[in-house]
């Protein structure tokens, strides 16, 4: 399994991380090592094994439909990087 710098950049873009060329080289090396470790999984026969998503078999708990939350906008926006008129501000979104 080889991971090119280009692969690293593609993954980084998906994850919204900025990676310099220098870092990309380092990451590609490390990711290769980790994936090498992970390659061992492939040797194991898992035919007819169900994937295990949750550590115990429980059914989803569903709550009754009721409004239980109150407006906490001021408290929540006190920790926001940029707000105006109750809105969170971000650089212009282009559709």
């Amino acid at each position: 399994m080889t991971i090119s710098n280009e692969d690293v950049q593609k993954i980084a873009r998906l994850a919204r991380l900025e990676v310099s060329e220098e870092q990309a080289t380092k990451f590609s090396d490390e990711l290769e090592k980790i994936l090498h470790l992970v390659e061992k999984l492939k040797a194991c026969d898992t035919t007819s094994v169900e994937p295990m998503t949750h550590p115990f078999d429980a059914a989803l708990l569903l709550r009754e439909d009721a409004v239980t939350e109150v407006n906490q906008r001021d408290k929540f926006q006190a920790i926001a990087p940029a707000t105006q008129d109750g809105l969170y501000l971000v650089p212009k979104v282009l559709d």
Partner: protein, 487 residues
């Protein structure tokens, strides 16, 4: 009062109820020790006024006999738990300005029990690490040898309890993050069964593996804390619908006839001889106490580490997407546009190990690789879990070392992620299977570094596990050892 910081919770309870000391005195004592030993870097945030205010309230409650078993006793919280009105960083720069607007369920349960919060302990960034070296707020020193790491990710909590800066602390464990630092720092740490303790307000690393637990001097203390921490929480869909627990009342059973399973492969390659020796001694002690030893096999657990390094990063890559600089946390100062703002905020905010894991996880989930990695790892997880089911048909509890070695030196493994990951080789299987596990002090190596004994119990059998640990501690005094410079 002398040596308050060396006392167990049960001892502090009697101090408080006898009137030997007040909650305020306790709080002042530990706050003083935190400040005096700040070179350990065990804490990220301490708010003395807030702590003293809580202690005063506890004293009032104690005076009016309105307290519970833990009222007035201080403890520290790992900085992964949200604390209303208090900085909650998760060890990351990206949350260096995050004053949480709410309390985690673990925090509120312990506060309601009257416990006093000393502060927030240092940790590996987003709990990703086994040495506390990935923290944005600096590495923590191991009180037994300040050149060594305390383990991680709950390294601050472990060091704080070990050095007597807090009588107990909370931690979280995704692949060993409570047990490994507990072993490295010579204290007792419990990872409960998945679902026992609410994850609400605990900043998620890998949701299907994360579990909060207590870190304390003794199994008895851990049981006291667990009694409060466990319970169904309507805010967490993975929280177990369970009756109230009382593990503290289950600690006095003899272990006569107990069948202890030893997974053979855990005692072979990669295990330091000095650790093996100490564990052998512990096994003999348990045998003397009436336990019998059976050999068991956990064949799929050999693949636990690679399995874990697919699943945990995959979940983490998604869990960490919310840190985008829009609603809270770090936002880059300069950027060209929205995409650039995301990338710069996240790249400035996350450290290398976090980025590495986000990248692995993103890769493992991306189209074309899902089946080969994520789905495959989930199947292995099932096989690992099935191995435990089989093993527990032969034995009551599974014993191993907690770690292959004692605490290593700072910087020893920072350039080798794989070597770092292999530290968790004995602890990861319990997370994958969702089982309760404990690390307790088993002795010191010739250089005086602590070694941890690891027990894994069947699902929801914390009572059995804590009883064995407590009985062991009644027959040994390793848990009484205290790092010299902090006595």
């Amino acid at each position: 009062m002398k040596n308050l910081h060396q006392k167990t919770l049960t001892e502090l309870q009697s101090c408080l109820s006898n009137g030997d000391c007040s909650s305020q005195e306790l709080a002042e004592h530990f706050l003083y020790r935190i400040e005096a030993n700040d070179q350990l870097n065990a804490f990220i945030t301490v708010d003395e006024q807030r702590t003293l205010e809580q202690a005063k309230q506890a004293d009032v409650a104690l005076k009016d006999n309105l307290g519970s078993a833990l009222t007035g006793i201080p403890l520290a919280h790992k900085d992964i738990f949200c604390t209303d009105g208090l900085l909650t960083t998760c060890g990351s720069k990206i949350l260096n300005n995050f004053i949480s607007p709410y309390d985690a369920t673990v925090v509120s349960r312990l506060s309601h029990a009257g416990m006093v919060t000393l502060g927030k302990t240092n940790m590996d960034e987003f709990a990703m690490g086994s040495s506390n070296e990935t923290s944005y707020y600096g590495v923590v020193s191991n009180p037994w040898n300040t050149n060594a790491v305390p383990g991680g990710s709950s390294g601050g909590s472990a060091a704080a309890v070990s050095a007597g800066l807090a009588p107990a602390a909370t931690g979280t464990d995704t692949g060993g993050s409570i047990r490994q630092p507990a072993a490295f720092c010579g204290i007792t740490g419990v990872k409960p069964s998945y679902g026992r303790v609410s994850r609400y307000g605990m900043i998620a690393f890998a949701s299907s593996l994360d579990q909060a637990g207590p870190m304390a001097r003794t199994a008895e203390d851990a049981a006291l804390l667990l009694d409060v921490m466990c319970g169904f929480d309507e805010h967490d869909s993975t929280s177990l619908r369970q009756d109230p627990v009382n593990f503290s009342a289950q600690l006095d059973k003899s272990i006569e006839g107990l069948k202890i399973g030893l997974p053979k492969s855990f005692f072979s390659q990669g295990l330091d001889a000095e650790v093996g020796d100490v564990i052998d001694t512990s096994i003999k002690t348990l045998e003397k106490m009436g336990a019998t030893i059976v050999d068991i096999n956990l064949p799929s657990s050999e693949l636990a580490v690679p399995c874990y390094y697919v699943l945990a990063p995959a979940e983490a890559s998604s869990n960490l997407s919310r840190f985008d600089g829009v609603r809270f946390g770090h936002r880059a100062k300069e950027y060209d546009d929205l995409g650039d703002m995301y990338q710069k905020s996240r790249s400035e905010g996350f450290g290398d190990e976090v980025k590495r894991r986000i990248m692995i996880g993103t890769y493992a989930l991306s189209s074309g690789y899902y089946d080969a990695y994520y789905s495959k790892a989930q199947k292995l997880r099932r096989l690992i879990s099935n191995d435990f089911d089989l093993a527990f048909k032969q034995c009551d509890i599974i014993l191993s070392p907690t770690t292959p070695s004692v605490a290593f030196d700072k910087n020893a493994k920072t350039d080798d992620p794989i070597a770092m990951y292999l530290n968790d080789i004995y602890t990861i299987p319990a997370n994958l299977a969702g089982l309760p596990a404990i690390s307790l002090p088993a002795g010191l190596n010739p250089q005086g570094m602590p070694i941890g004994l690891h027990l894994v119990a069947p699902y929801l059998e914390e009572g059995r596990m804590l009883n064995i640990a407590h009985q062991f501690q009644l027959n040994t005094d390793f848990h009484r050892a205290f790092p010299e410079n902090y006595a």
